[in-house]
Amino acid sequence: MDMEAAKMLGAGLAAIGAGLASLGVGNVFAKYLEGALRNPGAADGQQGRLFIGFAAAELLGLLAFVVAMILIFVA
């Protein structure tokens, strides 16, 4: 298999990480909404932590994108 094809295949496999990250991000928002609907008064106070959790989960998904980019354009 030549190098170019192997790189493209690797990048395609790395994109699976984006789908897994979407599970993580959905998890963060789902738990927040569940808690917020049980205790609406406490919801606004925790919004900051919601966005911190979202940023952390999103970052790991974006790392998969970075691997794909490195494979296509750098390696």
Binding site: I52, F54, E58, L59, L62, L63
Partner: protein, 252 residues
């Protein structure tokens, strides 16, 4: 990917200073535009009326938002960081939003300078330097106690401390990477979808309807998402900076 290239406006000849080329690029132009727009935005809200008008209300709500965020995350000592975190937040927010402005119809191509790792890297390095500076200025060498959380049993310390150290050193890198990849991925997605629209249109009327129209509708949705992501990424950068400063100010 051509939308991300940095082009010197007016050539690179004759702009060498000490071995580095400092030609004025499109990235620098958009940084200048962002600064001017931001300055105008805040300046127009500085009328200081007792009953604020709408513009003053907008500026005050943004400064109040950052003030509250710093007080919630750092406590009383957070107020002295409001100038820095406010500037950081507004600069990144305006940079992200100005990159999405649809000026393409009149021929100007907006450039999101936060979609380059160099720019976001510098912003993250500035935040991290402030964290390190504050930490060592306030606590001296006790700052290294940050890597040993309260109440860890002594046999665990040689395992926990290196992990904490690595996770601390990754912070500026992750700050920069998050903003850079979010912006780059968004613009890349819009470019790919627009290439579908153009390709579908070029391939005849049938393909144009089948491929072009759904892609265009998706583009509109993704643009709305990009506006949201622009705001969220700016907020997350500022929020994480505030959290890291909290780690430096109040050791755990």
């Amino acid at each position: 990917m051509r939308q991300f290239t940095i082009e010197p406006l007016g050539g690179t000849a004759g702009w060498e200073v000490a071995g580095y080329n400092i030609a004025f690029t499109n990235s620098a132009l958009w940084m200048l535009i962002t600064t001017v727009v931001l300055f105008a935005f805040v300046a127009l809200g500085m009328k200081r009326e007792l009953v604020p008008g709408r513009w003053q209300m907008m500026v005050e709500s943004l400064t109040g938002f950052i003030d509250d965020m710093l007080e919630a995350n750092i406590g009383k000592g957070g107020r002295k960081y409001v100038p820095y975190v406010f500037s950081l937040f507004m600069f990144i927010l305006f940079a992200n939003l100005l990159g999405l402005v649809p000026l393409g119809v009149v021929g100007v191509h907006p450039f999101t300078f936060t979609s380059h790792f160099t720019v976001t890297g510098i912003l993250a390095v500035i935040s991290f330097s402030i964290v390190l500076g504050v930490g060592f200025w306030k606590h001296g060498l006790k700052f290294f106690g940050l890597f040993v959380p309260h109440g860890t049993p002594l046999p665990m310390v040689p395992f926990i401390a290196p992990i904490e150290f690595i996770s601390f050193m990754v912070r500026p890198f992750s700050l920069a990477l998050r903003l850079f990849v979010a912006m780059m991925a968004g613009h890349l997605l819009l470019e790919v979808l627009s290439s579908f629209v153009i390709g579908g249109g070029n391939a005849g009327f049938g393909f144009g309807l089948l491929v072009g129209v759904p892609s265009f509708i998706l583009m509109v949705g993704i643009c709305a998402l990009e506006l949201l992501v622009a705001g969220i990424q700016a907020y997350v950068f500022a929020l994480l900076t505030a959290l890291y400063i909290n780690d430096a100010e109040n050791l755990h």
